[in-house]
């Protein structure tokens, strides 16, 4: 583990150098570090945000200085507290099981303008793309890009498709896409370059709720293929 400054008001706690070589293990470690830091409630820390291999610790240096009683070496003090809070747990120690969330997706052509492109790239039929995409198990590595956007690992290798060379200016909320080796869901009307293969009627981001995002880092996700009628009824 290394702890490095991200400017003067944040530190990044990097638990591993790589992600792809061991996604599950890396995600477990990131989440464990995230939880340990949250329960440590280190004074001056404003919030934490997990990413693929790291947890960002955002702080107010003024509050850290007050808590530590020192005006110099603010980050040394913080790094020591972070280090103490994130001692690796013993092997076999209990970890809380991740949540599993099922996302209904309608893969009808009108919602899937790039389904044929993905099929062509994988040299399989569009039906096989849908089958592969909805049969696989995924895990949310982190939320970002726009509020509630889940970056998910676990896409079958065959479905990996390069991003579009011309990103779309506007993608509708709920659009399910493939970008390189990842799959994700656009929560809000936004620009984007991923290949769109379906749409979910679920709302991925709702600022009137707390937490505002449907999916959280660490969640296990499965896609269930649905028909147009079910899409409409779930959308109500």
């Amino acid at each position: 583990m290394e702890i490095v400054p991200l400017g003067d008001s944040a530190l990044i706690v990097r638990v591993r150098e790589q992600f792809e070589d061991a996604p599950e293990e890396t995600q477990d470690q990131v989440l464990q570090t995230f939880r340990q830091l949250r329960s440590a409630a280190i004074p001056g820390v404003i919030e934490l945000a997990p990413a693929y291999t790291s947890v960002a610790v955002f702080c107010d240096p003024v509050d850290v200085a007050k808590a530590s009683g020192t005006a110099s070496d603010i980050f040394d003090w913080l790094a020591t507290r972070i280090g103490a809070a994130t001692v690796p747990k013993r092997r076999g120690s209990r970890r809380s099981a991740p949540r599993t969330v099922e996302i209904p997706v309608c893969y009808d052509p009108e919602f899937a303008p790039d389904l044929e492109e993905v099929a062509r790239h994988a040299q399989i039929s569009t039906e096989q793309v849908v089958e592969l995409h909805s049969a696989a198990g995924y895990r949310v590595a982190c939320i970002g890009f726009v509020p509630g956007f889940p970056f998910m690992a676990g896409l079958p290798k065959k479905l990996a498709t390069p991003r579009r060379s011309n990103p779309r200016k506007e993608i509708p909320p709920g659009a399910v896409g493939i970008g390189g080796a990842q799959t994700g869901i656009y929560p809000l009307r936004s620009p984007g370059g991923w290949n769109l293969i379906g749409r979910t009627p679920l709302r991925l981001f709702d600022p009137s709720k707390n937490p505002p995002a449907l999916l959280h880092a660490g969640d296990r996700v499965g896609f269930r293929a649905i028909k147009r009628e079910e899409f409409e009824s779930l959308k109500q």
């Binding site: 490095v4 400054p5 400017g7 990044i12 990097r14 960002a56 003024v62 200085a65 726009v146 509020p147």
Partner: protein, 332 residues
């Protein structure tokens, strides 16, 4: 009570000190791009420093008041008028019912933060009144203000008591206080400014020539800059390696370098994570200068240590504490 946005200008939005605690869900900070200026403006009008105010970009705001309020603003060089009386940055003034406050075009810099006693009263969404202009929530209907909008103002206890205590002998233009906050707090915009930075974690991924160029050569602000980031053009910042980086957190002040080699200085509306190498971070006390950069401005970078960045921040905070105490002695 309410105030009427007669003209919204180029881009005016409701902002407070930012929406923290939701970055794990990808929610950007939003907020005043220079929160310190919003704090000072709020303190000047007798508000708690976290009240919401208006962020004005490039000017053009015209605001019609329907009751009596104390106002103050901090930011770039703008001509601001209450009726016909000029209101310089960092001074407080009493605006009476029926009076208008007008922001002219920015002469230097591009943003100003206006505080009104009682604050701008919009619903709190995810802990903040700030407008998230990218995700369209918070603030006033999740969007920038438009001509004809009517904004609610919060209640303030002072009626004219605080006004009488703070504004010198009210007669026409003299409703404006003669005392003010320190000049570099209220007016952080400078022509051809220098931004101080600490090294980013990917500093060593850049080649030796690049590491010399960053602190020595000027960069020009590109027109496609916005509240997400200031795009800079200048000498190419070239990588020494070509390792694909794994996305991780970024923050306002982060200077990231996309494959074009032209850096982007991130501001308050930036994404929460990014995958470009981080060559540097502008220090928090200089975010006020960063927030004033506009197309065509030339800017230079100068390196400081992390210790210096913290020392400067703590100094500024102590000075603000003294200022707060000074203000409380003026209040009734």
């Amino acid at each position: 009570m309410t105030a009427i946005i007669q003209r919204a200008g180029f881009l005016t939005s409701v902002q407070d000190l930012a929406r923290t605690s939701f970055r794990e869900f990808g929610v950007s900070l939003s907020g005043a791009l220079y929160p310190f200026a919003m704090r000072v403006a709020n303190l000047l009008v007798g508000n708690h420093e976290s009240e919401a105010g208006l962020e004005i970009t490039l000017g053009g705001l015209q605001l019609h008041f329907q009751d009596e309020r104390i106002v103050a603003w901090c930011g770039g060089e703008f001509d601001v008028l209450i009726g016909a009386a000029p209101l310089p940055a960092g001074h407080t003034a009493l605006v009476r019912s029926g009076e208008e406050l007008k922001f002219g075009r920015a002469q230097i810099g591009c943003r100003a933060w206006l505080a009104v006693s009682g604050g701008v009263d919009v619903p709190i969404v995810l802990g903040s009144r700030s407008t998230d202009l990218r995700a369209n929530f918070g603030g006033f209907d999740g969007r920038a203000l438009r001509d004809g909008d009517v904004i609610s103002l919060g209640e303030w206890p002072g009626s004219s008591a605080f006004a009488k205590a703070t504004a010198d002998k009210p007669t026409t233009a003299k409703v404006i206080s003669s005392w003010t906050a320190p000049h570099d707090w209220v007016s952080p915009a400078k022509p051809n400014p220098i931004l101080r930075f600490v090294r980013g974690m990917d500093w060593t991924r850049f080649d030796a020539a690049t590491l010399q160029r960053l602190p020595s050569e000027p960069f020009t602000v590109s027109p496609d800059s916005d509240r997400m980031g200031v795009r800079l053009t200048g000498p190419e910042l070239a990588r020494a390696d070509n390792v694909d980086l794994i996305s991780e957190a970024v923050a306002p002040g982060t200077v990231q370098v996309p494959p074009s080699g032209q850096p982007i200085l991130l501001l308050g509306d930036c994404q929460t994570i990014g995958g470009y190498p981080k060559i540097a971070h502008v220090i928090t006390v200089d975010l006020g200068i960063a927030a004033q950069l506009r197309a065509g401005d030339r800017v230079r970078f100068s390196e400081v240590s992390l210790g210096d960045a913290h020392r400067l921040l703590l100094q500024r905070e102590r000075a603000l504490e003294r200022f707060r105490i000074g203000l409380s002695l003026r209040s009734p």
